[in-house]
């Protein structure tokens, strides 16, 4: 009931969204209703989170193709993702109440927003391949329409086109993957797929296709190219959902196929997935550091975090195949923990980017600055989000990355030499990515919120509606809470992973409630609760000390001007200059970064310019070669358009004879 009613009301809201017209209060009302529906779905998901495996509510609807029925089921994994998705959708809907009036064309957004929410939730509760794929396409197409919302800029149109092509490619891969899973009888329900035995070749292909299908949606390198184009193109509250949640729905699909439907993925795939995750994490964050566009930076950071989660998933597969059930469960719990975390802080950060855009109309870091003074709430919430995504304790990002590291350190206990040597390499990649992520967000936050304004728009940043402020505050509080009570969350997650790995682990076995000690208490333990309490106590004590015993006299002095007497904002650190050392270290080899100084002619009074050129290797290696092959084939096939009537007949005839021959040959066997 708590699922069906909100789902159908979301569909109804989409119709109302079309009818809303130009009246802004109607759009606001629809966002309010979306928030209520998400809240209902959130409660519905949370109620089934702790259930014992195999008892989730299942229902069958007579919709879809005439000879098929639609199966739905809400098991623990679906329930977890439903909670994750609907926390973010609820936040984005509330944010949308205030944000929708700042959009250039709200009528192009409001009808599709509920459809997008519906699509994501429907993917989670689908219990057969048909419904899964239909919902998946629903999600893709509705988000595509949202990417096209601001269709007047050519950049957005290109992004939407690339997104559409990649979404089609991904669905095609998933379609084939489910086709293999369903086998020759076409057993399309998930229950039948679970029982089916896969041939080794089919099993191999299923994993490869699932990785390409779900991975292209999640943004795994090298299939990530659409993501940093499409996610920023949508309105900010939609970007928040696409980046924060839709990628998680894609990971849900991956987990569902690899851990549930396929069941026995060999360790080699686990190692490969782990390495893909490591590469994705490092490349994603390196791209992110080099971005000047705030939303693009966040989108690339999503790629990085997906890589971090995928490292956990790959590790879990390898452990599961190696018989190390406890470690498999630990790695999977760590991955899921990061999924939960990332969905919250990435939503928060995208919403704060939306708030910055609302207040200033700018998203270029080079034109922001000093926003903390004019937008203290947004600034504080963003600081929490940035610290969490940089994995600083005691926030939630630290816990999940720490857990992934803990399970990585146990990787060498596997008997395969590839894993023994590979795991430390991936560990190094993860460490590099984590450190670079911190740099990336120091840069993003420092340039945008600290210092002095770099443009009149940033200096004149105006207030944002209260709903937007409160949404961000609640999300920031969630970041703190999820970091402060890690054990409570890991217990819930281990119930989720139990049917997938066959074991219910207690991550805090040794030391009891507030202490996480995944491997053993001597190898490492962490308690966010104790850390938060200690921190709070120290904070209070220092306040008491400073205000009780320190001097109360107010002193005024000039701000330090770094030795420059000119009082102009251009002398500050810029986004470009902050990233320059890293760009020189990594960029010149990886991205072919070239810096050229453009000196003006003698007598010309114009300024000298430093031009940085970057080349995206993934784009050149993968996509351009694909484009070349497609172009070549298209040229060849194009000739077929100008054949004579007789040749067309000949082709039909040849096809007919060939097919008859195939039938004849098959009969004789």
């Amino acid at each position: 009931m708590l699922i069906a009613a909100p789902m159908s009301s979301l569909l109804a809201l989409a119709v109302l969204g079309v009818l809303a017209g130009g009246e802004m209060w109607r759009h606001r009302l629809i966002y309010v209703c979306c928030a209520i529906a998400s809240l209902a779905l959130l409660v519905g998901g949370a109620r089934h989170l702790g259930q014992s495996p195999g008892t989730g509510p299942a229902f069958i609807l007579p919709i879809g193709l005439p000879w098929m029925e639609a199966h739905f089921r809400l098991d623990n994994l679906s329930a977890l993702f439903m909670v994750v998705v609907n926390i973010a959708t609820c936040a984005a809907s509330v944010f949308g109440i205030g944000y929708c009036s700042h959009l250039p064309e709200p009528r192009r957004v409001t009808p599709f927003f509920p459809l997008f929410l519906f699509g994501m939730n429907a993917v989670l509760i689908a219990d057969d391949a048909f419904m899964f794929l239909v919902s998946w396409e629903f999600m893709s197409l509705s988000s595509w329409l949202l990417v096209l919302a601001d269709h007047r800029t050519a950049e957005n149109r290109d992004a939407a086109l690339v997104y559409l092509i990649m979404a089609t490619f991904g669905t095609f891969c998933l379609l084939t993957c489910f086709g293999l899973l369903a086998g020759p009888e076409g057993a399309y329900s998930f229950a039948a797929m679970r029982d089916a035995k896969l041939e080794p070749v089919a099993g191999f292909l299923v994993v490869a296709l699932a990785l390409m299908g779900a991975g292209s949606k999640a943004g795994l390198v090298p299939l990530h190219a659409w993501l940093p184009l499409a996610h920023p193109a949508a309105p900010s509250h939609v970007s928040a959902l696409m980046s924060g949640v839709m990628t998680k729905v894609a990971l849900y699909g991956l987990i569902r196929i690899l851990f549930d439907l396929h069941g026995h993925v060999p360790w080699g795939w686990g190692a490969a997935i782990m390495v893909i995750g490591g590469i994705t994490a490092v490349l994603g964050v390196l791209y992110a550091i080099l971005q000047d566009d705030l939303k693009k930076l966040l989108a690339y950071s999503t790629v990085e975090n997906i890589g971090v989660v995928v490292i956990g998933l790959g590790l879990a597969i390898a452990f599961k195949d190696g018989g190390e059930k406890t470690l498999a469960a630990l790695a999977l719990v760590a991955g899921l923990y990061h999924i939960v975390n990332h969905s919250i802080f990435k939503t928060l950060l995208f919403l704060s980017a939306g708030a910055v855009i609302t207040a200033t109309g700018e998203r270029d870091l080079g034109r922001l600055g000093g926003l903390l003074k004019r937008m203290p709430w947004t600034g504080a919430a963003t600081l929490v989000g940035a610290a969490a995504i940089s994995a600083l304790p005691p926030l939630n990002g630290f816990v999940s990355e720490w857990l992934i590291f803990q399970s990585l350190f146990k990787g060498p206990s596997l008997p395969h030499w590839a894993m023994k040597f590979g795991v430390p390499v991936v560990g190094a990649m993860l460490a590099l990515a984590a450190a670079l992520a911190a740099t990336c967000f120091v840069r993003a936050y420092g340039i945008a919120f600290l210092g002095r304004p770099r443009s009149p728009e940033a200096a004149q940043a105006h207030a944002i509606p209260g709903t937007m402020r409160w949404t961000m505050a609640v999300l920031a509080a969630l970041c703190v809470v999820l970091g402060a009570v890690p054990v409570t969350l890991t217990e819930a997650l281990s119930a989720v992973v139990q049917p997938l790995t066959g074991i219910n682990i207690a991550v805090s076995a040794d030391l009891g409630w507030p202490w996480l000690s995944p491997v053993s208490s001597t190898r490492g333990s962490y308690s966010g609760t104790v850390l938060v309490l200690t921190g709070a106590a120290l904070f209070v004590i220092s306040i008491v000390l400073v205000h009780g015993f320190g001097t109360t006299r107010t002193r005024r002095a000039d701000a330090w001007d770094c030795g420059h007497r000119e009082n102009i904002p251009e002398t500050q650190y810029t986004g470009q200059s902050f990233a320059q050392p890293l760009r020189r270290v990594f960029g010149s080899s990886l991205f072919g970064a070239r810096e050229t100084v453009d000196m003006p002619e003698p007598g010309d009074l114009g300024p000298a310019r430093l031009v940085v050129r970057l080349i995206d290797p993934v784009w050149i290696i993968f996509y351009q070669s694909v484009i070349r092959v497609v172009g070549f084939l298209a040229d060849r096939v194009n000739r077929m358009q100008f054949l004579t009537v007789r040749r067309y007949l000949l082709m039909m005839f040849a096809t007919l004879v060939f097919m008859l021959l195939v039938v004849a040959v098959r009969q004789t066997q």
């Binding site: 004579t644 021959l661 009969q667």
Partner: protein, 222 residues
Amino acid sequence: MVLTQLSYDMAHLIGAGVLMAGFQLLYQRRLFAVLNTFAFQALALAAAAAWQAHIQNAPHLYVTAGIALVFKAMIVPFALHWLVERLGIHKTVETAMSIGWTMIAGVALVALSILLVLPVTANAAALTRESLAMAMSVVLLGLLMMITRHNAVTQVVGFMALENGLILAAVSAKGMPLVVEISVAFSVLVAMTLFGIFFFRIRERFETLDLNDLETYRGDRQ
């Protein structure tokens, strides 16, 4: 009427007559000879339908035979004859593939259809099986004729021969309703009329019926 060995043999003989006419169509080098052979094929088809009506005790097949006799054996060949005379069409058949090779390809197609139909219809009555194999051969030969001849008239004849094969298949299977045959016959007639009109139009504009020249006009071959 009991299906005796004689009735099988007669049915196969007439069916083979239709098939042989199909081969003859491929072999002819003169346009009028093609038309005459086509008339002969339609005649054999009418005979096959009539014989089937007789042995299956299905009077409606006599109607089919009548349609085949009147339309395909008389009206269509006469009309094409008249068209060729009227338009002064070049009276040799222009082939795209040498006649010898065409015949060899035809034999291969017949072998293919026998290989194909006989195992598929293992459970069907013997009469149906072999007639179906022959009917399919006639269809494939009709297609072969359409793709190995340049002239539009011969292509029309190939198309009609293909239709003949379809009707042969229809009459050999028991219980095929008459409606199907009538509609096939009428569609052929309509196609015939259309082709006739097209011939006039094409001829008026391009002064030829050779498809090669039409291709040049379309700009495909410079």
